[in-house]
């Protein structure tokens, strides 16, 4: 809501700078986003001019007028002025900027030769004066607005200060001058005289014909409906300049007198009104419901298919308006409408919000209705509009019909101590009463209890807490004390939370940079990622309204969005991109039926809550990494070393070690990875149970190619939720011996397809308890070994817990290890 400070002053008598009003309103809870001054920057004279004569100059590319304009004797009488606009005639009143005047934006007017004439000033458009964006033509003032030569600045509202207020959904009443004025009056502690306390000056209805009849078919959704009839209205009558100014200042365009008045009264009182052309109506006007499937064209020239549940305005022929949202094209008043039916009604906020949402149509009217309009004000607003119509456009007031459901006043009982208890500061009971009264409540104070009758314009006040807020906001939040509550002793982060932090930090220390990617993916992404048609990873939730139709799904794998992030980095010139991301992934679609419908009136039952939890997809916490480019950069120390599959496996090991778990690696296949260089990752929990936690390895060359990654880029993804669940809470101390160590090396030749891990396992089993550690230190394949073979060299360390090992003991253990590897893996001692 935009509103001029001058209007507030007129309603409250508070004469204060706009900034000051803004600050006090902000403190009271109206969000004033800014204060702008109309025509800021304008310097010098702006006067009313009377167009005496117009000479059309036709020899130029566009029509040009040489006008003789009377700007008043004190400004030199009649002047010649060149003007390019065509929207005025001889006798019109215009606004003239005299030479020497500087218009907003620093444009200085001077007398100058142009189009072969001396132009001695400028006839201004709204935009040139900084009033608004209207540049269709020059501003023509209504007839008899003022004498030629009068200072035009106050007439067009230059210098007015406009407060721009963002009205929160609970404060519908602040979408009106009346509501804002009330807040200003409270803020300045002046008595407020409600504009509706003044009775509109309206002649008695003539009843020369039957006023248009009205009804409400749905008294729940439309509990008050009035229809007033005016005939012989002058459709060509001008909207007074002051009204135009206010409409413009509130951000609305002037359309025609009748429409302007409905809008003006809405801005003044907060009650949306709608004017129909009486001659286009047939029969009774009703609030009700349309035929299912009825086609209805709204004022914005959009045809809409209605359903029976919509709340509309109808006449005997069908729908003529979407109630409280927008009127229809058919019954709209036009330039020639002389007979008018004026609708002023009260609609249920929910019904209007539903319509507005359903038809994606937000109007000045719907914004007010869905925030709640004063339940009682419709007949008054109609009278106010009729007063203005007759005053400005003549005509005859025939009469008003109305239908209304019984009204209920909200009464809330609270302890007079409740505001103090909630605020945490002493608020005297009398102050509570005074403040609630200022807001418009009627308060009965008895035995420490307040019986508060809520005013009709505050449908948002329904609970005790709402009354508390009214009191505390008016006292001012700045007066609240600041005290720290004492929470019970805490338990700190959970084990899982600690591990998540630790894993992230470990990867950062391993040289990777954490990035955060959007979790949205689409079919093209999955094709590039080589995910086959029936892969379970395609089972993802779908967004009903994605940002891009190309990415409607929520990732089931971090790599789906991390690999594109790597591409983006490489595209920006970071050939080496070691990055990781930790976050949620989403497994499985959401069925439209599965989530139970529950009330918020009470706690859900255990069964309901469990059903809700079950219906949501599994959303484990994953961590993924992409390694592209150099693991070690080139430098004076030597050439670069590229990332390879082993770095990705080692990264997985870094993660499991951070969680106190040994990583178990085995061969795997995954379409995203190189078929021969993909590891399946597992961990063993303290019960000895193995858990699959993820994959690592070199990405498939085709994928690397699609994403433009460096050759042999690698990746890894781990389900951290599973790792954390398997992680030990307490780590056991090691037992180690201080006896001397005996070292033995074993070089074994095995078939090329035998994995090192299985040879190691065999050696470990065969070596027995004396084996302290085993480490593969060399892998070799070549002609000396023979086709299809490889050599694995292991270093074994033996140690006894209680004595120095003899050569015999060591040899025996070594032989036993070897024997097991021979049997289990077909190994042979390398010659």
């Amino acid at each position: 809501m935009r509103i001029a400070a001058s209007w507030i002053t007129e309603l409250t008598g508070v004469l204060a700078p706009g900034r000051d009003m803004a600050e006090r309103l902000i403190a009271a809870g109206l969000e004033v986003e800014g204060v702008v001054v109309v025509g800021e920057g304008l310097m010098g004279d702006l006067v009313v001019g009377h167009v005496e004569d117009i000479e059309e100059l036709r020899e130029f590319k566009k029509p040009i007028r040489y006008c003789l304009v009377d700007v008043g004797a004190e400004h030199g009488g009649i002047r010649g002025i060149i003007c390019g606009a065509q929207n005025f005639v001889i006798g019109d009143l215009v606004v003239v900027a005299l030479p020497g005047t500087v218009l907003p934006g620093g444009f200085e007017i001077s007398a100058r030769e142009t189009y072969g004439k001396l132009s001695n000033g400028m006839i201004c458009s709204e935009r040139e004066m900084g009033l608004g964006e209207d540049h269709d033509g020059i501003l023509v003032l209504p007839k008899a607005t003022a004498e030629a030569g009068t200072d035009a600045k106050p007439i067009v509202g230059i210098g007015d200060q406009i407060l721009e207020i963002a009205v929160t959904p609970d404060r519908g009443y602040a979408l009106s001058a009346r509501g804002i004025a009330r807040e200003v009056a409270i803020a300045y502690s002046v008595p407020f005289s409600d504009p509706i306390d003044r009775t509109p000056v309206l002649p008695a209805p003539t009843q020369t014909r039957k006023p248009a009849a009205c009804a409400s078919d749905d008294l729940e959704s439309c509990d008050l409906f009035t229809l007033s009839t005016v005939v012989n209205f002058d459709p060509h009558a001008f909207t007074p300049q002051w009204m135009k100014n206010r409409l413009r200042e509130c951000g609305m365009r002037s359309v025609s007198l009748a429409v302007d008045i409905t809008n003006y009264v809405m801005l003044e009182l907060g009650q949306p009104l709608h004017a129909f052309d009486l001659d286009k109506l047939q029969g009774m006007v009703r609030a009700g419901h349309p035929r299912e499937g009825e086609i209805f064209e709204t004022l914005d020239h959009v045809e809409r298919t209605l359903s029976e549940s919509d709340l509309v305005i109808l006449d005997d022929r069908g729908t003529i308006g979407l109630a409280g949202v927008m009127g229809g094209l058919d019954a709209e008043i036009s330039d020639s409408s002389t007979n008018i039916a004026l609708e002023a009604a009260h609609f249920d906020a929910t019904a209007i919000a539903r319509s507005s949402r359903k038809y994606k149509l937000s109007s000045e009217a719907s914004r007010r209705f869905e925030r709640g309009v004063d339940r009682t004000i419709a007949p008054y607003a109609a009278a106010r509009a009729l007063e203005l119509m007759l005053e400005c456009g003549g005509g005859e007031y025939v009469g008003m019909n109305a239908v209304e459901a019984p009204m209920q006043v909200t009464v809330i009982t609270i302890s007079d101590q409740l505001p103090s208890r909630i605020a945490g500061m002493e608020i005297p009971a009398q102050q509570v009463v005074d403040l609630l009264t200022a807001v418009g409540c009627r308060v009965i104070h008895e035995d420490g209890q307040l019986e508060v009758a809520v005013p009709s314009w505050r449908p948002d006040i329904t609970d005790q807490a709402d009354l508390v807020e009214e009191v505390v906001r008016l006292i001012g939040y700045s007066n609240l004390p600041s005290t720290l509550p004492v929470a019970p002793a805490g338990r700190g982060l959970t084990h899982a939370q600690k591990l998540r932090r630790r894993v992230g930090t470990a990867l950062a220390h391993a040289g990777l940079s954490e990035v955060l990617s959007y979790p949205f993916v689409g079919p093209l992404d999955l094709t590039a990622l080589r995910i086959p048609a029936h892969d379970s990873r395609r089972d993802m939730p779908t967004l009903a309204n994605p940002l891009s139709d190309e990415q409607p799904w929520l990732r089931s794998s971090i790599l789906f969005t991390l690999i594109p992030a790597a591409r983006r980095n490489i595209g920006r010139g970071h050939v080496t991109t070691p990055i990781f991301e930790a976050g949620s992934v989403f497994h499985g679609a959401v069925s439209t039926e599965s989530i139970p419908v529950m009330t918020a009136e009470h706690r859900p039952t255990q069964a309901q809550w469990e059903a809700l939890e079950r219906a949501l997809p599994n959303q484990p916490f994953h961590i993924g990494a992409v390694l592209s480019g150099d693991a070690q950069q080139a430098g004076w120390w030597g050439p670069a070393r590229s990332f390879d599959w082993s770095d990705s496996v080692q990264l997985a090991r870094t993660i499991t070690q951070a969680c106190g778990l040994e990583l178990v690696v085995s061969r795997a296949s995954d379409p995203m990875f190189h078929p021969g260089r993909c590891a399946q990752l597992q961990v063993t929990d303290s019960d000895g149970k193995m858990h699959m936690i993820g994959v690592a390895g070199e990405l498939h060359p085709a994928l690397i190619d699609s994403f433009g990654l460096s050759a042999r880029s690698c990746a890894m993804e781990i389900d951290l939720s599973t790792v954390i669940a398997a992680a030990p809470l307490v780590r056991s101390a090691p037992i180690f011996s201080t006896q001397p160590v005996a070292k033995e090396d074993l070089a074994l030749v095995v078939d090329i397809n035998v994995d090192a891990v299985s040879v190691e396992r065999a050696l470990r089993e065969g070596a027995g308890d004396l084996l302290e550690s085993i480490r593969l230190f060399d892998v070799y394949s070549g002609p000396q070994i023979g086709e299809g073979k490889k050599s694995l060299a292991f270093a074994l360390r033996f140690r006894s817990p209680d004595h120095t090992l003899s050569a015999d003991e060591t040899t025996k253990a070594r032989e036993s290890a070897l024997a097991r590897a021979v049997i289990q893996c077909g190994a042979a001692l390398r010659a």
């Binding site: 720290l484 990035v515 009470h602 950069q633």
Partner: protein, 369 residues
Amino acid sequence: MSAPNKEFDPKQVSDLSEDSVNRMVAAALTAIGAAGDLSELKEVRLAHFGDRSPLALANREIGALPPAAKAEVGKRVGHAKAQIKDSLTSREEELELLRDQQALLQEVVDITVPTDREWTGGRHPLTTLMDAMADVFIAMGYSVAEGPELEAEWVNFDALNVPADHPARTMQDTFYVTSSDSGAVLRTQTSPIQIRAMLERDPPIYVVAPGRVYRTDELDATHTPVFHQIEGLAVDRGLTMAHLKGTLDHLAEQMFGAGIVTRLRPSYFPFTEPSAEVDLQCFVCRGSSIGNPDASCRTCGSEGWIEWGGCGMVNPRVLRAVGIDPHAYTGFAFGMGIERTLMFRNGVTDMRDMVEGDLRFTRAFGVEA
């Protein structure tokens, strides 16, 4: 004259006089002192202490002396030898030390060359900032609560007192999952975690909940459809708005420095009543830039305050939806945007830097925001 001179080849016989021996010693000591390195010293040793050295030759003469002179001269020569040996030893030690020192000097490198064989990594500053803010609350006895990003609409809206057709539902542009009436959304705020925390535990409840949230905003310099918030919730007997203010002031001070406070402005959120916007006192100018064009402040736009988040007393309707008796318990809640906090706290000027996954952004922060 002490030896028979039978041979034709005459031989100079060494002079064993005291003077002569002293001269030999002096000559040896001078030569030892003059030896510049170990190889020179080796030659000096040969010349003055070797088998052919004057002293060695003189020593041989002792046998020919009359018995009465033998002892005295022997003593004299022995003393001279010891003197030279000591000198040689100490000089040798000196020269060895010198040699070792010079060897290290030979190994001088340019200590200023780059040493970055490995890459430097980092955690995303949004992550570390969330951790840092959560830690402020952990220290006060709070726990960190969690909830899913794909959330039931009931938890994200209904239970938070945002009824289906209330305009507050359209205040936040929601991503719906499957269809607009499936009952599942991407959470638009961290507030649903409040609901879960209250369903999962009994009061007193003191939790903080950092997390990722979603709204259908297009990405630009100040908006992103995927962003982060941190939410705080306390439910206990006798909690007041003063406690809320005290908690926010404490957070402000911990994150932005001693003496920094917050300001509350009345506002509207469906899940709190009374509700307020939280402004942070500008931690750069501390208000000194207000109305002071000569010392304008970029951080707060010379307003003195920075919009930080929203807060309020938990709406009793919310307590009712989770089965907590609003007559027995009151609560406060607050939430703020992490991106926004990072932007003004760490001087990030463009939202896109945070979300596009450019590793330069992360690396610059290391493991702390």
